[in-house]
Homo-oligomer: 337 residues x 2
């Protein structure tokens, strides 16, 4: 099976990466990718040159590996390109910066159809255009591997502002989030419960049924739409601390509390229909921020709690030890599919 | 066998990545890594913030994958960290920039000893300190994968100068190189000829003999020492074009010739004892640059040819079609070891 779920064994009409050179593959992908508005020298030389208008730039990097991070029966190549971009853009936004550029390194099996790589590029491109207009792909690398692997590094512009760190929350601040809570985790649970065959292996046909029945959580898992523009808006509004919600509200709020030397009291009545999943579910890639009391919250931010004296996390005023989160070393079962 | 070539099956005293959390692994690695002189906000938040003193920054990314790019019977974890840094630093230097920072994403099998990861970090650190003092690791990511994979993105500072592109060579310029030619390829040939067992599989014991007999070429392959500081020196001296010698002199010179709309005539008498390997051998990661005639060549640069009218590559005035180079999609045989 190829990355796009087709069975192409023996189909000579499908051109694969193993049949074209790295240079030819790049020639077909590069035109699909948007340029960055900060590009001074783009792809094609030893390195790109980007503008840093205020003399600083924000940098983050993240890998996505077939098996622990995605299943090819569930994600299309387009989805993978989209998610690889979206999750990195979210880390840039969580500093209060505007995403400006990405470099994308992909290692793919030699039997990967070139058309799948083009779909990855389209996913990367659309995520940039939709989530962070003006951000583009400024460079990359293509390698061969038996395991499909993405490594994206993203850049951003603070536009003269101070970065918003995890360590700035103060007692009395309100705690707010932008973006859904627990929806991506709900989607993943639906996939593992219902989009598998009798042996528990990811199954494309059953996936289509699950997607049709539960489009919102499944799409939140496979093609997240983080509220990127809310990151700079939060910084402008005076956010005292901020981070990307990658490991679930409880664990990520605990990080802010630890870094800031405070406690965070989350209000379960503000966490929707399923507070347990909202607290523990990861991969939403929304934003968690703290603001001084009385701040008019920008964009999609809504209050979910407040900063209090102490340490760790409370839920409705009582100590909360649930963690959530996902550790690839401790938790991956070794399966791919 | 672990990454360091030891056989640890059943040895409970060896702590592996699968037994510690990603966070604990990072806590052990980060203190080993040098800081960057441009770091404003270092690792630990959603993203790092780096200074770009002249309002621009140079960016390049490169992947190294177990199998096509290295063999664990030949490279130690320290070697891998060193090479992952060195090859990226070289791309920054080839723009005429001073390397300032790296972000490093590593995907490793769950049974990788944490001690091997620490050795990778020491290799990264020493390559930065020795080849590009002031450059440090500003961020990273750890993932699990069945295939050991490195993705490094490197940054640099042009210090107010124009970047040196591939496209600036002019008829009459001299063509010069810094660093060895063909030595890394000679090392790789020795390894494949003599550091394998009867079945052709990479073998650690035979490797030790080859390393002892031929330390220079083997070390050039496994732990290259690109002349990083010669990149900025070439820019200051007025280099008209420059690039990193990653795919062999002939192929890389052809890239300069194509981008510049000129021909390059290489002089085999200036290419050492083995001109054929000097022309075709890749992975030296030295620098190829063109300079206006009469330029006092800086650092380790020495003349190997001149820029003439026409297209493509000549050797001693006659058309040269040998290519060299290495294309992972077309040339990897699928073996690891």
């Amino acid at each position: 099976m190829t990355m796009s779920g087709r069975t192409d064994a023996g189909d000579r009409s499908v051109e694969t990466l193993g049949e074209v050179s790295e240079r030819d593959a790049l020639r077909r992908i590069l035109p699909l990718l948007p340029a960055s508005r900060t590009t001074l020298i783009g792809p094609g030389d030893d390195a790109a040159v980007l503008a840093a208008p205020d003399g600083r730039y924000v940098v983050t990097t993240d890998m996505m590996v077939h098996g622990p991070d995605f299943r090819l029966a569930w994600s299309t190549p387009y989805d993978l390109g989209w998610k690889a971009a979206a999750t990195n853009l979210s880390d840039v936004a969580a500093m209060g910066a505007v995403p400006t550029g990405l470099v994308v390194a992909i290692a793919a099996p030699a039997d990967t159809p070139v058309a799948d790589l083009e779909e990855i590029a389209r996913g990367l491109a659309d995520a940039c255009r939709r989530l962070a207009p003006g951000c583009g792909v400024v460079g990359g690398d293509l390698s061969v591997s038996t395991v499909l692997t993405f490594a994206v590094t993203a850049f951003g512009d603070l536009e003269g502002r101070a970065p918003v760190l995890r360590s700035g929350a103060r007692v009395g601040d309100v705690v707010a989030v932008s973006g859904p809570l627990g929806r991506a985790a709900a989607g993943l649970r639906l996939l593992f419960d219902h989009a598998v065959d009798a042996d528990g292996e990811p199954d494309r046909a059953r996936f289509e049924s699950v997607l049709a029945a539960y489009p919102e959580p499944v799409t939140a898992q496979l093609r997240p739409q983080p509220p990127i523009s809310d990151g700079p808006l939060a910084a402008i509004a005076g956010a005292t601390a901020m981070l990307d919600l990658s490991d679930g509200l409880a664990l990520d709020a605990r990080r802010v509390a630890e870094a800031s030397g405070v406690a965070i009291d989350l209000d379960p009545s503000l966490l929707g229909d399923d507070p347990a999943t909202a607290l523990s579910g990861g991969e939403d890639h929304g934003l968690l921020a703290t603001f001084p009391p009385g701040t008019a919250l920008p964009g999609g931010f809504r209050i979910v709690g407040r900063v209090v004296e102490g340490a760790g996390i409370l839920a409705g005023g009582r100590p909360f030890d649930g963690l959530g989160g996902w550790d690839p070393y401790l938790q991956w079962d070794g399966n791919a599919g």
